[in-house]
């Protein structure tokens, strides 16, 4: 993990509201926020079936509309943020979330890379709206879908579409213990080797983004005899250009190579640049990978 996480004890505590202390509760507070998304990453928290009640004993679920109508006033020790910023209202709201949050954890491809809705960033969004709605003028939206880290400081990023349940529990456990989370690094390609899966690209000629995609899913797709489709976004040192060239040499049409890199992590610069026209100044396309990182 490239982002350092200060333990809770060393970070300046957000100011408590006047109501705090009326019902003393020593447990750290947890809030779950949604922006433009499918709800799948916050569902992953409810999918921790074996751990959910034990977790609720250790943390106070203070704001989680999908699970409870009870609302405990902020600030919150830990905030999980799902979704990307796609409206002016949400661009304001994320600032309020940041101000109320101790450790802010982004969860999923929408929050970390703009999500699949970032496909609008490469298109004429007005034309997209007109294709879906008879009265696009009644809609409120921004031309671009952007990750949370483009707007506020993010403390921990959890990647994936959806995130991995085990990683979510690890991050929550780490924050509670005041230590840095242990999250996988490297590529899906390396996970496949560790798992002992025969390479679907070499053995079967399937298009696979495993070499450039961040580890974390356990190399699920190759284990199901399909190529990785990159839903965890780019790994820390991806060479997307090189992989795009290899895919093309293997007979994949240019349009299909471009589609492969522009699906679930379109907003991640390293994936966008993999099939973008060469940059005249000679800058390396992989330099742009920093655009996917934690602190803006």
């Amino acid at each position: 993990m490239s982002v350092d996480v200060a333990p809770l004890s060393t970070r300046p505590a957000p100011a408590r509201g006047p109501l705090e202390g009326a019902t003393p509760d020593a447990r750290p507070t947890l809030a779950v926020w949604k922006f433009a998304s499918c709800d799948g990453c916050q569902l992953t928290l409810l999918n921790c079936e074996a751990e959910l009640l034990a977790l609720a004993d250790r943390v106070q679920v203070a704001y989680f509309p999908e699970a409870t109508r009870a609302v405990v006033a902020g600030p919150y020790d830990v905030s999980l943020v799902e979704g990307s910023i796609t409206t002016a209202e949400d661009a304001e709201r994320i600032q309020q979330v940041r101000a109320q949050s101790g450790t802010l954890v982004t969860i999923g491809a929408c929050a970390t890379a703009g999500g699949i809705q970032a496909l609008r960033n490469l298109a004429d969004v007005g034309e997209l709206a007109a294709a879906v709605y008879p009265r696009p003028d009644q809609l409120a939206y921004l031309a671009r879908s952007t990750p949370i880290a483009s707007h506020v400081t993010v403390d921990v990023q959890l990647y994936g579409c959806p995130i991995d349940r085990g990683q979510l529990l690890e991050v929550l456990a780490a924050v509670l213990a005041g230590r840095a989370p242990r999250l996988p690094s490297g590529s899906v390609c390396a996970e496949c080797k560790r798992r002992g899966t025969v390479c679907v690209a070499v053995a079967d000629g399937l298009a696979c983004l495993g070499p450039v995609t961040r580890a974390g899913c356990g190399a699920l797709c190759p284990a199901h005899h399909r190529g990785c489709y990159g839903c965890f976004g780019p790994q820390d040192t991806p060479n997307g250009r090189s992989l795009a060239t290899v895919l093309g040499e293997g007979g994949m049409a240019a349009v299909d190579v471009e589609r492969a890199f522009r699906t679930f992590a379109t907003g991640a610069e390293a994936f966008r640049a993999a099939t973008a026209p060469p940059i005249a100044t000679g800058a390396s396309p992989t330099d742009a990978a920093a655009g996917h990182g934690g602190r803006p």
Partner: protein, 431 residues
């Protein structure tokens, strides 16, 4: 003389998928304005599907909803396969049905016990409910987990499964892995059956609504993973390919969702419609649960939909066990699907109701047009009609109690605002 208007506001509706709200204005004893507000930011799926490959909609449209991705994957597969003139072999249809059972089990267990039941027992949510009913919440989590484990074995993971493709699956599940699910599914069935008396003895408000019911007609058992026609409570049978001639979507100012109307009138899809139109197709155990829960062969009370979901949960568990027991493998994981210039239609029964997809593709397999009609958008006019009925029947309640009654009524539909691709806000404005 006109009395002062009453206004109630719930800025964020809790325990629904996605976030949203409601707006109701009451004046002179009438609900003069009732709006379920869907203001979730639009994500334009139907727009950016154009220009993509015909093989991509199962993976792309799954991302519309993390609660029912399998519904999106299979409606997409059916529509593309229809366009290309392919019907998957029976073994693969059954495997799809099995994966879909997993999604129903997960989604219905979540809604019945963690989203809806807290309203009946007087809690803010399942975690609060666990303080007094830990065993009940633990059993709910076991049922939910059984659904997720089934989806993981067949689909690779429970949120956005990776194993589904146009034409079938990427890899067939290991028969031993399927059989290993049996104890967990059997235990979940025991948990569901054990919950019947608790739900049967709750008090449900009297409200009979006359909505037109629409559900898929599978032609093979309870409607779920496929079907060529829709049936209605008015006696119509309509081919899925004629969906667009009967159902027209409208955009209304207070909503980012497009609302559906069937031949011009509001209609309802989902558990109440499926149950009332297809009671005879339920397994005997599910029918016995219905009887024990005090349900007749049809149900027109939205507040009792929790009982209908429990019946469907039992049915899905029984079916999943039956499919696993009879599973004898399949010759191939997927059949080839070659593109051709054509239009295709597909409909399946998402946990919340009918989900329709339509795609037009060219000869190279590039998508030219896409249309997706999710259940919550179809149900929005009926939900608003029910809200009006609830408000007008409960005008004696104070604002807080009436607001809570409205919230409860909305939650009975298990509305999926992420599905409607849009967002909803609840304000009650009494003039």
């Amino acid at each position: 003389m006109s009395t002062a208007p009453r206004e109630l506001t719930v800025p964020m509706l809790a325990r629904v998928e996605g976030e949203g709200g409601m707006h109701v204005v009451v004046q002179d004893g009438r609900a003069v304005e009732v709006q379920l507000r869907i203001f979730e930011p639009p994500r334009f799926f139907e727009g950016f599907l154009r220009g993509r490959s015909y093989l991509e909609p199962p993976d792309i449209t799954a991302r519309i909803c993390g609660i029912c991705p399998v519904a999106y994957q299979f409606s997409a597969c059916l529509a593309i396969e229809d366009a290309c003139g392919v019907v998957v072999p029976e073994e693969l249809r059954l495997l799809r049905r099995l994966l879909y059972c997993g999604e129903w089990i997960e989604s219905h267990a979540l809604h019945v016990f963690m989203l809806h039941l807290p309203d009946l027992l007087g809690y803010d949510g399942a975690i609060e409910m666990a303080a007094d009913h830990r065993g009940l919440v633990e059993s709910a989590l076991r049922m939910k987990r059984a659904g997720n484990e089934l989806m993981t074995v067949v689909g690779g993971r429970s949120v956005h499964p990776v194993n589904v493709r146009v034409g079938g699956f990427h890899r067939l599940p290991e028969p031993a892995a399927l059989r290993a699910l049996r104890p967990m599914l059997s235990a979940a069935l025991d948990d569901a059956l054990a919950a019947v008396p608790l739900l049967a003895r709750q008090e449900y408000p009297d409200l009979e609504q006359p909505h037109l019911y629409v559900a898929l007609d599978a032609g093979h058992g309870y409607p779920l993973e496929s079907g060529a026609a829709l049936v209605t409570s008015s006696g119509l049978t309509v081919p899925v390919s004629s969906f667009g001639t009967h159902i027209v979507e409208h955009q209304v100012g207070h909503s980012h969702a497009l609302q559906g109307r069937f031949d011009g009138q509001p209609y309802l899809v989902g558990p109440l419609a499926r149950y009332s139109l297809h009671f005879a197709a339920l397994s005997p155990v599910a029918q016995q649960v219905a009887s024990a829960a005090g349900l007749g062969r049809t149900c027109r009370n939205p507040f009792r939909s929790i009982l209908v979901r429990l019946v469907e949960l039992v049915h899905a568990l029984v079916e999943a066990l039956a499919i696993i027991d009879a599973w004898d493998g399949a010759p191939v994981a997927a059949v080839p699907v070659e593109p051709r210039a054509a239009e295709g239609h597909g409909a399946t029964e998402a946990p919340r109701g009918l989900l329709y997809h339509r795609y037009r593709i060219d000869g190279s397999g590039t998508i030219l047009a896409a249309q997706i009609v999710p259940p919550t958008a179809q149900n929005q006019p009926a939900i608003e009609a029910d809200l009006r009925a609830v408000v007008e029947a409960n005008l004696g309640l104070d604002d807080e109690a009436l607001t809570r009654a409205c919230e409860t009524a909305i939650r009975t539909y298990d509305p999926c605002i992420s599905c409607a691709t849009h967002f909803l806000r609840l304000t009650v404005d009494r003039r």
